[in-house]
C-alpha cells in the first residue's frame, strides 16, 4: 500500500481501485449463481453493471452489501478487506444502495427519510430545525428544492430518488449502487438524475449503475461490466464498445459467429399468412408502454423481443385485461375488444402464463389437480359442484400428455420442480382449449430437459392452429422459435420480422439501436 496525498481521500491502493471484487463464488442450494465473478470500480467513476435476468448482477450486489454471504473470493473496498453481514453495515462502511423499489418510507417527511438513523439532537431531543437544514443542504447540492417537511409520497419518483441519494451522501457514502434508477422516470427526470450522478462523480463518489437502457449507459457511464450466467464476461470503457457488441455479449450471441440450432424449436419454411386474430394499435399504458402495435395471426408463434423494461409484459397484461390502456386499442377478429377484467379475456379464449410463477401463477397450498383446473372450474362444475370424474380425466390426460412429474394429482404444487409447475400452468390454459395463449418467459428458471419439452409443445400447439404470443428474454428462443417477431424498445414497437427475415443479428440490431440496419451491424 502506498501513502501519499491521495490517501487523505482514502482512495488509494496500489492499483488505485475503490472497489475490487475478485473470484466471487456463490451457490444457492448447490446451484451456482456466481462463478469466479469480478467487479472493479475506480474512484469517482460511474460504472455500468449489465446482464440479463439471472446473469448474477443482483446476486453480486447482494454479496457486496452483505445481504448474501459469498462462498469464495475477495472483496476490498478502499484498499482494505471489506467484510459486512448486512446492508446496514455496508452503509456504515460507505456503500449505499438505492433500490428499484425505493426503500424509503413514503408516509414520512423528506427530512426524516434523509436523517433517520443519524439524528441531530439538542438536550436529548430531536433538533428539527437543524435536521431540516441538513436535509435542505444535502438536496441543495443537487439543486433540488422541496419543502422537506412534507411527506415523501407527495413528490415524484425522481425526487424520491434524489432523497435516497441525499440519504446515502448524508451517511458519507463513497460508493452508491443504483438499481435501475431510471425505470420509472420520464425523460426530464432522467436528465436531472444524470446531473446528480455527474455531480457525485465530480465529488469523488463512485456509482454502480444497473440499467437496461443502452442509450443511458452511453450517456452517463464511464465503464461497463457485462455479466452472463454468473460470470463476468467483459469490462470495458464505454467509448471502446459498441451497442451491438454490448448486447451480443450480454446475450451471449457472437455477432460474427454463424448460428446453430440451440433450442428445440423448429420453424416451418415460410411465414404463415393465417387471418389476423388479434390486433393492437398504438397501445400506451403506465410508464413503460408508449406506442405498441402488432398483429397476431392464427396458428403462428409471435414473439415480443426486447430488453428488460421494454414494455413486453406490460403489453401482455393489457391484452389479458389485467391492466387497461390509456391510449390505443385492441381488436379481436376484426371487432373492437376492451377486456375490463381477465375474465373477459378468458371468455374470449385467451390464456396467460405469467412470468412470475410464484406471485401470479401457482396457488402454492393447492394440489396439482386444483391448480390445473382453476380456470376450467366453470366448465367442469355443474350447479356449483366440481365434477370430480371430469376433473380426473382432464388432469390425468394432461399429466400424461405433458409428462408432468408428480406423485399424483393430489400432490401440492409447491413441492414440484419449476419445470413441472410451469407445465401445470400451461395445462391450466390448454385445458380451456384456447384461441390465444400468452406465454411470458415460458422457460425461465426451468432445467434444460423440461425447457426442450416445453419448446416442442409450444410449436406443436401452434401447428394445430393455436395462436401463441411468446415473450422471452432468450434471444435464441425468439429467433428460432417465432414465426413473427415484434421488437420492442423502451415501450415502442421498432421492428417486425417474419419468417426468413428473422435472425438474431437483426433482432439484436433493432433492440440495440431502435432501427433496422440490415447490413452494417457495427455502430
Amino acid at each position: 500500500m502506498v501513502g501519499g496525498p491521495a490517501l487523505a481521500r482514502g482512495t488509494s491502493m496500489a492499483d488505485g481501485l475503490l472497489l475490487s471484487m475478485r473470484g466471487i463464488d456463490k451457490r444457492f442450494a448447490g446451484i451456482p449463481a456466481l462463478t469466479d465473478a469480478s467487479l472493479e470500480v475506480e474512484p469517482g467513476e460511474v460504472h455500468a453493471l449489465i446482464g440479463q435476468n439471472g446473469a448474477g448482477k443482483s446476486t453480486m450486489i447482494k454479496v457486496l452489501t452483505g445481504y448474501h454471504r459469498r462462498d469464495d473470493g475477495d472483496v476490498a473496498f478502499d484498499g482494505k478487506p471489506f467484510e459486512v453481514s448486512s446492508p446496514q453495515q455496508a452503509q456504515a462502511g460507505g456503500i449505499s444502495t438505492i433500490y428499484q423499489e425505493i426503500n424509503l418510507v413514503p408516509l414520512r417527511s423528506v427530512t426524516e427519510n434523509i436523517c433517520l438513523g443519524r439524528e441531530t439532537r439538542r438536550m436529548g431531543l430531536l433538533d428539527w430545525r437543524a435536521m431540516h437544514a441538513e436535509a435542505e443542504r444535502l438536496l441543495g447540492r443537487f439543486r433540488v428544492k422541496v419543502d422537506v417537511r412534507r411527506p415523501l409520497m407527495d413528490f415524484s419518483t425522481a425526487t424520491q430518488q434524489m432523497v435516497a441519494i441525499a440519504r446515502a451522501i448524508g451517511f458519507s457514502a463513497r460508493l452508491v449502487i443504483m438499481d435501475e434508477p431510471t425505470s420509472s422516470l420520464d425523460e426530464q427526470e432522467v436528465a436531472v438524475l444524470f446531473n446528480v450522478i455527474r455531480q457525485l462523480r465530480a465529488d469523488g463518489v463512485s456509482v454502480i449503475f444497473v440499467s437496461h437502457k443502452l442509450d443511458e449507459l452511453y450517456e452517463v457511464c464511464d465503464r461497463v461490466t457485462i455479466m452472463r450466467d454468473g460470470r463476468t464476461v467483459r469490462t470495458a470503457r464505454m467509448t471502446e464498445i459498441s451497442k451491438l457488441e454490448l448486447v451480443s455479449q450480454m446475450l451471449g450471441r457472437d455477432v460474427a459467429k454463424t448460428e446453430g440450432q440451440t433450442t428445440s424449436f423448429s420453424r416451418p419454411a415460410q411465414a404463415s399468412d393465417g387471418e389476423v386474430v388479434l390486433e393492437g394499435r398504438s397501445l400506451a399504458a403506465g410508464q413503460s408502454v408508449h406506442d405498441v402495435s402488432f398483429r397476431l395471426r392464427r396458428g403462428e408463434i409471435a414473439s415480443f423481443a426486447g430488453l428488460l423494461g421494454a414494455g413486453r409484459t406490460e403489453t401482455a397484461r393489457l391484452i389479458f385485461g389485467a391492466d387497461h390502456p390509456r391510449a390505443g386499442g385492441l381488436s379481436l377478429d376484426g371487432k373492437g375488444f376492451t377486456p375490463a377484467h381477465p375474465r373477459d379475456a378468458i371468455a374470449a379464449g385467451f390464456g396467460f402464463v405469467s412470468e412470475d410463477r410464484k406471485l401470479e401463477g401457482i396457488v402454492p397450498e393447492m394440489s396439482v389437480a386444483e391448480n390445473m383446473t382453476l380456470a376450467l372450474l366453470p366448465r367442469i362444475s355443474r350447479n356449483g359442484v366440481v365434477d370430480e370424474k371430469r376433473q380426473r380425466e382432464v388432469v390425468n390426460h394432461f399429466i400424461k400428455e405433458l409428462g408432468i412429474k408428480c406423485s399424483g394429482p393430489g400432490q401440492r404444487i409447491r413441492e414440484l420442480s419449476g419445470g413441472n409447475q410451469q407445465k401445470v400452468l400451461l395445462a391450466r390454459w390448454l385445458a380451456m382449449d384456447p384461441k390465444l395463449l400468452i406465454l411470458d418467459e415460458p422457460t425461465r428458471g426451468i432445467d434444460v430437459g423440461a425447457k426442450g419439452e416445453i419448446q416442442r409443445l409450444i410449436r406443436s400447439l401452434a401447428d394445430s392452429g393455436l395462436t401463441v404470443l411468446m415473450i422471452s428474454s432468450e434471444l435464441e428462443e425468439v429467433a428460432e422459435g417465432a414465426d413473427r417477431v415484434f421488437v420492442l424498445r423502451e415501450g415502442r414497437t421498432v421492428a417486425e420480422f417474419a419468417g426468413d427475415e428473422i435472425s438474431e443479428d437483426r433482432i439484436l440490431a433493432a433492440m440495440a439501436q431502435g432501427h433496422i440496419t440490415h447490413e452494417d451491424p457495427t455502430r
Binding site: F28, A29, E360, V363, E365, M366, E370, P378, V386
Partner: protein, 328 residues
C-alpha cells in the same frame, strides 16, 4: 428471498412438521385417554352431551369463520351478529300479531333473524371486497355497532320466553340427540363438503392462497369474499338462535359475548392457516373440541375456570407458533 430454504427439509421426518399436522388430533386423543383414566364418570353419555352442547355454538360460528380465514380475512363481528339475531327472533315470535299461530311466528322469526345476520355479514364483505378495507377493521364496525343495535332493539331488556316450538332448536332431542348437535354436524359436513368439492370452495382457497393468481385465472375474487362474510354472518345468526333457545331468554348484552375469540381460537388450533389458502373444517371441529375438553378436564379435576383460560391462551400460542415453523 429464499436464501437457504432447503437444507433441513431434506430429512424424512420433521418433528415440528409432524406436530403441526397432527398435534391437535394427538392432544385430543391424549385428553380423552387421560379423562377415561382419571376423571370420574367421564365415559358417560351425559359427559358427552354436556361437552357437545357447550361446544356446539362455537363450532357453528367457527365453521363460518374458517371460510373467512381461508380467504385471508377475519371476522370480529360474529358475537355481535349473534346478539342481533338473538334479539330479533323473540321480538317477532313474542309479538301479539301471531296470536294463536305461534308456529308461523316462529318460522318468520327464524327466517328474519338469520336473514338479518346474513345481511350483516354481507355488509362486512362489502367493506372488505369493495373498499379493500382490512378485514380486522371492517368487521370492527359491526362488532361495536352490532351489539348496540341488538340492545337498542330490545331496549337492553331481558326477553324471557317459554316457546317450545322455538326452543326445540336448543332443547329438542329427536332420536335422543340434541337438535343443536345435529345442526352443528350438518353445518360442519356441508361446509367441509363445500370446501372440498364445490367450485365455491376452490375459489375460497385460491383467493386466500394467491389472490393475484386467482384473479388472473378468472376467479371472481370479490364475489367470493362477499360470500364468505355472508356465510359467517349466517352461521352466527344460527348460533345466536341456539343460544337464546337454550337459555329461554335473550339478553342482548351477553349473547355471543367473546365468541369471536373462541371461534378464532378453534380455527387456529384446528390447523387452518391464519394467512389463508389452506383450511380444514374438520380441523376446526377438532380444535374446538380440544379446547373444550381441556377446559372440561381442568374443571373436572378441580382447576378453576380462570386457570383454564390461561391454558387456552398457551394452547393457541403454541398452535400458531407450530404453524409458523411449518411454513418456513
Amino acid at each position: 428471498m429464499t436464501v437457504n430454504a432447503p437444507g433441513r427439509r431434506l430429512d424424512s421426518f420433521d418433528v415440528l412438521e409432524f406436530l403441526a399436522r397432527y398435534g391437535t388430533l394427538i392432544a385430543l386423543g391424549l385428553l380423552i385417554v387421560f379423562n377415561i383414566v382419571f376423571t370420574r364418570n367421564f365415559a358417560t353419555l351425559q359427559t358427552l352431551n354436556v361437552n357437545l352442547t357447550q361446544v356446539c355454538t362455537i363450532v357453528i360460528v367457527a365453521t363460518g369463520m374458517t371460510l373467512v380465514i381461508a380467504t385471508g380475512g377475519i371476522d370480529l363481528s360474529v358475537g355481535s351478529i349473534m346478539a342481533i339475531s338473538g334479539a330479533l327472533a323473540p321480538l317477532i315470535f313474542l309479538s301479539p300479531v301471531f296470536g294463536d299461530n305461534i308456529a308461523l311466528g316462529v318460522a318468520i322469526a327464524m327466517v328474519a333473524a338469520i336473514s338479518a345476520a346474513t345481511l350483516c355479514g354481507l355488509f362486512n364483505g362489502w367493506l372488505v371486497a369493495q373498499f379493500r378495507i382490512q378485514p380486522i377493521v371492517a368487521t370492527l364496525v359491526l362488532f361495536i355497532a352490532g351489539r348496540g343495535i341488538a340492545q337498542a332493539m330490545t331496549n337492553s331488556n331481558l326477553q324471557v320466553f317459554r316457546v317450545p316450538e322455538f326452543q326445540w332448536i336448543g332443547l329438542g332431542r329427536p332420536f335422543g340427540l340434541p337438535v343443536q348437535v345435529l345442526l352443528m354436524v350438518t353445518l360442519v359436513v356441508v361446509t367441509a363438503w363445500l370446501l372440498r368439492r364445490s367450485r365455491f370452495g376452490r375459489s375460497v382457497l385460491a383467493t386466500g392462497g394467491n389472490e393475484r393468481a386467482a384473479e388472473l385465472a378468472g376467479i371472481a375474487v370479490k364475489r367470493t369474499k362477499l360470500a364468505v362474510y355472508a356465510i359467517s354472518g349466517f352461521c352466527a345468526g344460527i348460533a345466536g338462535l341456539v343460544v337464546i333457545a337454550i337459555n329461554s331468554a335473550s339478553d342482548a348484552n351477553l349473547v355471543g359475548l367473546g365468541m369471536e375469540l373462541d371461534a378464532i381460537a378453534a380455527v387456529a388450533v384446528g390447523g387452518t392457516l391464519l394467512v389463508g389458502g389452506r383450511a380444514t373444517i374438520m380441523g376446526t371441529l377438532t380444535g374446538a373440541l380440544t379446547i373444550q375438553l381441556v377446559r372440561y378436564t381442568l374443571l373436572a379435576n378441580g382447576v378453576p375456570d380462570a386457570a383454564a383460560m390461561i391454558v387456552k391462551a398457551a394452547i393457541i400460542a403454541v398452535a400458531v407458533w407450530l404453524q409458523q415453523q411449518r411454513r418456513v
